[in-house]
Subunit: 355 residues, 2 copies
């Protein structure tokens, strides 16, 4: 897999054309799995980890999965390339930053990725654009079955799948939906939504997982509980709550449009103007401004830029993507200048700015 | 005088082409004068004020001053028209807002204005674009002589010209220079400059006189003392200190250009982008953003807009000017929307924005 080619497209998660794509960015399911014949990664020797990596790599690349998975060995990648995979949500920050034999199998559309030697021996992930948890579940369930035919998973009749961290035991499943909720943030209703979600044991995280700030008004909502419930029950719980949040966000958008259209339009146009004109731009500010622009496009307040373009800018302005696009390693200051130049040239391409 | 025509040009004080015009906006001298045969305005009866107004109006409009002065009776003007004259610095806020017979004689270029029945019976003012105190002095001295041939000024051999407020007794002269000092503000040296000026008895005020905030980084520097010094001495004191402030501002500009060119360019371009794209804009924010743009134009960081245009936008976006231009009375919210539309259309006129 040529990593440089990744910057030519948006991957699956920012494709922007799935169901409810104006609010639901993507749906994602991951399964944590371990081999019964080896200790968990945190207790395995270097030798054992190397054996696990070799054997799983061999099996994964020969799976009957169409299109074929391509395999990347993490130790052979530069830190920018590893960061690139994190930014595309294909690997975790943990996998990028630990040491030792480890890798990821990815399908070209970036809908499937399988990490080897992360916290668990195997972390399967399926991603779908928009609100499509069922489709993601069908894919990952089939993938899991195929792998299970070739390896012995650590499994207990009593607990279910065994995992390195007790919080994943049972189904080993984390299903999550990434939402863009700018209107709930603007109308200060987002905290209320979070409290309601926490009461029903759903977790809310920022764009890049645990501990990350919700830059760009992106929120990941996922199940906390993996034990004592079937996969179907967990999926049903999330699947039922998401339409409610979508409806709250739509209500907030129509309230804003009705009661403070002028102020909203002002905010959106200022964000657009700043993105086109600034000479220095941090990643954080970019996300916040693009969030306003994304809302503006969805509400018809900006007509000369498309949602796929805005989505692409979200990911292309991340540090590793930016350096890939510029073809050079850049320090923070240089990135801020390059990011501003890139945004300005991409947004000015969109022709006359008359609206 | 057709007040609507005033919005077709910049007047003298924002013409922007006098000496040192990148920093010195204008030079202004005013003389406070009273008639010996009447009590000061604050003690005069309505009848006496009416007499003063009638008699001075008659004399001023027949002065041999070329081009002829035109006379405006304040009570006959709408509040927007009075505010328009304040914004153009042709009358004081006090004259606009008090009651009773009062007026102003103005020459078409707006270099000369003579208020009747302000705090003093007569307030003569001469304004020049750029750093031109001597020229302003020659003009106002000649004007003062012409008037003095026709009326008896209240004058004491001991004190000089007598005025309603003791702070003006003596010469009755206030000479002031309006400076644009954005780099001294950005480099946080402005307070130091002010303290030095106060030590030598010079006052610093904002754009619209006493008590007004220094919007847009405009500062008026003027003499405090009117008694015990000749006009020439007062003028010399100011004339000598201004080149130093100009030199400090130039140093601060070159420091910024050398040491933080990127951050400065960023600030300037963001201001420009916001002015072109916002949908709501207060007068205060407009001044601050235009100040950055003005600095940017002077430093060659923005090439598609000229200083006279920026100067014009400073005055055209003031509340009364804006309402004149729109041809309607507008409330605050409507003005903010109209101001943003006006700025956006004026700045977009300037062709492609490629730099």
């Amino acid at each position: 897999m040529n990593l440089d080619s990744l910057t030519q497209n948006n991957g699956e998660w920012l494709r922007g054309n799935g169901p409810e794509a104006d609010i639901v960015i993507s749906s994602r399911i991951r399964l944590a799995r371990n081999l019964s014949s080896y200790p968990f990664s945190n207790r395995g020797s270097a030798h054992q980890k190397a054996e696990i990596e070799t054997s799983l790599r061999d099996r994964l690349t020969r799976l009957d999965f169409m299109p074929r998975l391509e395999y990347l060995m993490l130790p052979g990648l530069s830190s920018i390339d590893r960061q690139l995979l994190v930014e595309r949500q294909l690997i975790s920050r943990e996998l990028a930053n630990t040491e030792g034999p480890r890798g990821v199998a990815v399908c070209p559309q970036e809908t499937v990725s399988i990490m080897i030697n992360e916290e668990d021996h195997l972390r399967l992930q399926v991603m779908r654009s928009g609100f499509a948890l069922d489709e993601a579940w069908q894919d990952i369930d089939r993938l899991d079955d195929q792998i299970e035919q070739r390896v012995n998973y650590a499994f207990s009749e009593e607990f279910g799948y065994l995992t390195a961290c007790p919080t994943n035991v049972g189904t080993g499943m984390r299903s999550s939906v990434m939402l863009h909720l700018p209107a709930l943030v603007l109308t200060k209703q987002i905290e209320k939504v979070f409290r309601a979600l926490q009461k029903i044991n759903l977790a809310v995280r920022g764009l890049y997982g645990e501990g990350s700030r919700a830059s760009g008004d992106f929120y990941q909502i996922s199940n906390q509980v993996t034990l004592g419930k079937s996969e179907t029950t967990i999926l049903t719980e999330i699947r039922e709550v998401i339409p409610q949040i979508i409806s709250y966000e739509r209500q907030a958008r129509s309230t804003l449009t009705r009661e403070s259209r002028q102020a909203l339009h002002d905010r959106v146009r200022r964000a657009y103007g700043t993105l086109k004109n600034a000479m220095m731009m941090t990643s954080e500010e970019t996300m916040d401004l693009l969030s306003s622009v994304r809302l503006g496009v969805n509400l018809g307040l900006i007509e000369d830029v498309s949602i796929p373009t805005v989505n692409e800018l979200f990911i292309h302005t991340q540090p590793a993507h930016l350096q890939k696009l510029m073809g050079a390693a850049l320090d923070g200051e240089e990135r801020n200048a390059a990011r501003a130049r890139y945004l300005s040239s991409r947004l000015r391409e969109n022709g006359p700015h008359l609206n």
